[in-house]
């Protein structure tokens, strides 16, 4: 399982690198044009850690990834994604990896994002992608019990949540300064969250 989590982080780094210009373009419209470069830099640093270090457990791997993102990214996305992976890893410590425990870990990670960012549903943030993804994941686990199906459902729900940020008026982060002018633009954070979950659906199951 540790190989699959490593694959997830490596695949995420690749996808974020390929989408760096796209994320920055979204951020230019309602933010400050740095989201793509920041995510790319942060995940490249995570890959550098993976190249140098071998991990005995998934929780140690995720915690290290989180610390690396906190240390390398800056902005709001550094603390937010860093906290997500830190809490995800912390929640998995001592647990055997099952669809249920991974779901618990994901939810702990997103709770960390909420505690740090204080966003609510509909504020036009990454939480608008995370929240429906977690619900879809739990529902799929309760239904089929299959990790692959649950991650696929989470990625699809995340994409819907991402698309639903377009008509919203931003209430958190730098986009909130635009008021109603933020309407009509897709949230960059919800977009990068969806890329991470789509990557998870490809690599973790």
């Amino acid at each position: 399982m540790i190989d699959k989590f490593t694959d997830w982080l490596r695949d995420s780094a690749k996808v974020l690198h390929e989408n760096a210009a796209y994320l920055t373009e979204l951020d230019s419209a309602i933010g400050d044009a740095d989201h793509g470069a920041n995510m790319d830099r942060g995940f490249a640093a995570v890959v550098a850690v993976l190249d140098e270090t071998s991990f005995d457990s998934v929780d140690e791997l995720l915690k290290k990834a989180g610390m690396t993102l906190v240390s390398k990214v800056g902005g709001a996305s550094g603390p937010l994604y860093g906290t997500f992976f830190l809490r995800f890893g912390t929640a998995l410590a001592g647990l055997s990896l099952t669809p249920e425990s991974i779901g618990t870990g994901l939810r702990a990670g997103v709770d960390g994002v909420l505690a740090r960012g204080k966003a609510e549903l509909g504020d036009k943030t990454m939480y608008d992608a995370w929240a429906p993804a977690l619900d879809a994941y739990d529902a799929a686990v309760a239904g089929s019990g299959d990790l692959g199906a649950a991650l696929k459902a989470a990625a699809e729900a995340s994409a819907k949540g991402r698309d639903a940020t377009v008509p919203l008026e931003a209430r958190k982060g730098r986009a909130s300064y635009l008021g109603e002018r933020s309407v009509g633009h897709q949230d960059p954070g919800a977009t990068s969250t969806t890329l991470l979950l789509e990557s998870a659906a490809r690599t973790l199951a």
């Binding site: 400050d32 740095d34 909130s176």
Partner: protein
């Protein structure tokens, strides 16, 4: 993109190397952590003052390190807040036992990273840290439904005034209270004639036509609240000064520091022309200008435009403003 750079990825580190080379008498630079230190920090008994933020606002913050202002400044990527590791390293390095004040501009990323750093520094080294968050931008109207007002021009005035107080040997709590008082008495409003280009992005953050201006702009190339037809300087001055005056409010008989700040791409000729308009408006409102500051102090890369900051002052604040300062960006009396 036309810039005097080598590789967009190296802009911040190479600029810091330049600061170290240009000011070896006053500064030393930790290149690994991207921290500009006052050469003689830590000073025994003195409260350490730290600020930091995204790069691209120079001389803020690194240019305000030195006697009478900051002990350290953490540089992030362009328009991206620094990371907690940097603030932690700086906090530990400038703590001489009297504690450390973090001066943070109110942006989501800056606040989160400084919060994490303060938690970690307290847990790790037992350093006493207090924070002040500047939020003087009146362009952000509905702070209940936004990330709150942004920290802009008042940050410069605060670093100067609070720096002088720390130099006098005041306690951490006194220095923090003074910082809050300065923030509470300052208000700003900015406008842009052009956008700016983040080196890593390679193209302007937004488009602004020849005959347009952006009112209520921040300092990150983020669009403002309102796009208006370009107007003469006299009208622009009113658009900036009126919302500032009515917000605190500043009233007849008040004494202020009046600060006309360039965003990086506007010549001093135009900034002084703007100051002339601002001074007339203040005079008409019965407000006395105790001190003034005109120039590029908190910038947004090469953006053309300006901001107006007013800080209501009493004799004590004026005395601290006049106290000696010797930094690359601001120097008098020393």
């Amino acid at each position: 993109m036309k810039k005097l750079i080598n590789d967009p990825a190296d802009v911040v580190s190479e600029a810091l190397a330049g600061m170290a080379a240009a000011h070896p008498d006053r500064l030393r630079v930790d290149h690994e952590n991207r921290i500009v230190y006052r050469k003689e920090a830590p000073r025994p008994g003195k409260v350490g003052l730290i600020s930091g933020g995204g790069s691209g606002h120079e001389p803020l913050h690194g240019g305000f390190v030195g006697l009478g202002m900051l002990d350290a400044a953490c540089a992030g990527e362009v328009f991206t807040s620094p990371v907690p590791d940097q603030m932690m390293a700086a906090t530990k390095a400038v703590d001489a036992g009297a504690g450390v004040l973090h001066i943070v501009k109110n942006y989501t990323g800056d606040v989160m990273n400084f919060e994490m750093a303060a938690e970690l520094a307290a847990a790790d080294a037992g350093t006493e840290v207090l924070s002040v968050v500047t939020n003087d931008d009146v362009a952000v109207q509905d702070s209940l439904y936004t990330a709150g007002r942004r920290g802009v021009g008042v940050t410069v005035l605060l670093e100067k005034i609070v720096g002088a107080a720390a130099e006098e040997g005041r306690s951490l709590q006194e220095v923090a209270d003074l910082a809050q008082r300065v923030n509470d008495n300052g208000r700003s409003m900015g406008m842009a004639l052009t956008s700016c280009t983040v080196p890593a992005a390679g193209k302007p953050t937004f488009d602004l036509a020849e005959n347009e201006m952006e009112l209520g702009i921040g300092i990150h190339g983020e669009p403002g609240r309102q796009r208006l037809p370009l107007a003469p300087a006299r009208e622009v001055a009113s658009l900036l000064v009126d919302p500032v005056l009515s917000d605190l409010p500043y009233t007849q008989g008040d004494s202020v520091i009046a600060f006309v700040n360039g965003l990086g791409g506007t010549p001093l000729l135009e900034l002084y022309l703007m100051y002339n308009e601002v001074a007339q408006l203040l005079d008409r409102a019965g407000i006395t200008v105790a001190r003034s500051l005109v120039g590029n102090y908190i910038t947004s890369l090469e953006m053309a435009g300006c901001s107006v900051t007013l800080l209501k002052v009493d004799d004590e604040l004026v005395r601290l403003w006049d106290a000696p300062v010797n930094t690359p960006g601001l120097r008098w009396g020393a």
